[in-house]
Symmetry: C2
């Protein structure tokens, strides 16, 4: 009899080549699978809610896997933490029904992009935030963020060359919150295209600096033209906050 376990994970993306297993480099998925093997002797496939790129962090990535091990499901995460490497830890675990699949049954995901405004690189912020400089208008960012809410074709907001069936996604909400020199952009949606949050964050920064306008955002949504938006911001500012099922 095997049990399906839902695992919530947090990791510092700096330490990993991303979620997905790769030939070279240590992936989060590989680290978790290796830890389960060390604990149970079982070689299982761990399914994540989605891939996070190299350098992207997570406070609440969700994964699922099946195990025949005799460890109480709600204690599994503690056992796992004794063998997981630095940089990734499990925050909770629970038994779920066999139709739960961390990837396919995910309903909403929330990502956060963290920025700081400074003329100088600040070493204590560099690991988890991206630096921007100059005058940034938070209210302009908030206003433009509203345009992106709802169901849209986000083709212009995805990395070129990514192949997906549809580029239509539903964004439930985007919040822009400034505190002193720090700005956090949180985006909640039913799914995200490749680099979508990093491109949204980049476009909102351009809006905040007055380098593009709301009409550019509207045009990008309409035409799918990636070049109307700003650059894709670095991975290190991005964090997967939570996944809902």
């Amino acid at each position: 009899m095997s049990t399906r376990i839902k695992l919530t994970l947090s990791y510092d993306g700096t330490s990993f080549c991303g979620w997905q297993k790769q030939k070279n480099g240590v992936s989060v998925q590989g680290a978790v699978e290796d830890a389960i093997f060390a604990l149970t002797g079982e070689r299982v496939s761990v399914i994540g809610s989605g891939r996070t790129d190299a350098g992207v962090h997570a406070k609440g990535q969700v994964a699922s896997f099946d195990t025949g091990a005799n460890i109480p499901p709600d204690k599994f995460y503690k056992a796992l933490n004794t063998v997981l490497p630095d940089g990734v830890k499990a925050l909770s675990s629970e038994k779920v029904s066999d139709d739960f699949n961390a990837n396919r049954t995910a309903k909403r995901k929330t990502y956060e992009y963290s920025l700081y405004i400074s003329d100088v690189e600040e070493p204590l912020k560099e690991r988890y935030m991206t630096r921007v400089y100059g005058d940034i208008d938070e209210l302009k960012m908030r206003s433009a963020a509203k345009i992106l809410e709802g169901e849209h074709d986000f083709k212009a907001f995805s990395a070129t060359g990514s192949s997906v069936k549809t580029t239509v996604r539903k964004v439930y909400g985007i919040d822009v919150c400034q505190s002193g020199e720090d700005i956090k952009i949180s985006v909640c949606g039913n799914g995200f295209l490749y680099n979508m949050v990093r491109i949204i964050a980049g476009a909102l920064v351009k809006i905040g600096k007055g380098e593009i306008t709301e009409s550019d955002i509207l045009k990008a949504l309409k035409t799918g033209d990636r070049t109307l938006l700003g650059e894709t911001l670095p991975a290190k500012g991005l964090c997967l906050l939570s996944v809902e099922y």
Copy 2:
């Protein structure tokens, strides 16, 4: 003609063996002196407001040095940042009078100790915070902190074996501020004994957990008995916020 420069520095202590130059390991002082040499060709002595231990961070360490280089004093930090290694950057620079000495003329320093309450290690907090667990009473911590304010003999709050002329220091204020599962303890004083802030933070955690009482704090101040207090908390949770002159 040489000019005395006051430099404000921020660094991620993880990358360094502490402020002070050592035979082995990369020190912040050494990194700054090397950067000045790369920039000006001058081998100067950089004086810090005080030593920070290996692993201790800084948002506003202050240093001073003399230079004959023809770089505008208020632009010096920008030039320096082009040659400083990752993990340390200069936030500002200015010309000061020749009686300024970053160490001897410092009047007040403010340190912050950062904690998070969690049953599980959280990778995204581990670099700059120390984890504590169980029930912690913030109000008890605040109340006990008040006892330490003012001029006292802080002998019990210093690492054993440190030799200083006097163990009397003046603490201008200690703030304990909880936000969700995070607790920050900031301590402002005219000077600090070796490990003093880390011992204060450890004692306040013990107070918050109910493992020691305010009378233990009073007794420690009176007797100088280090064993009445909790452990010295790890360096990584400590950050030098600012130095006033």
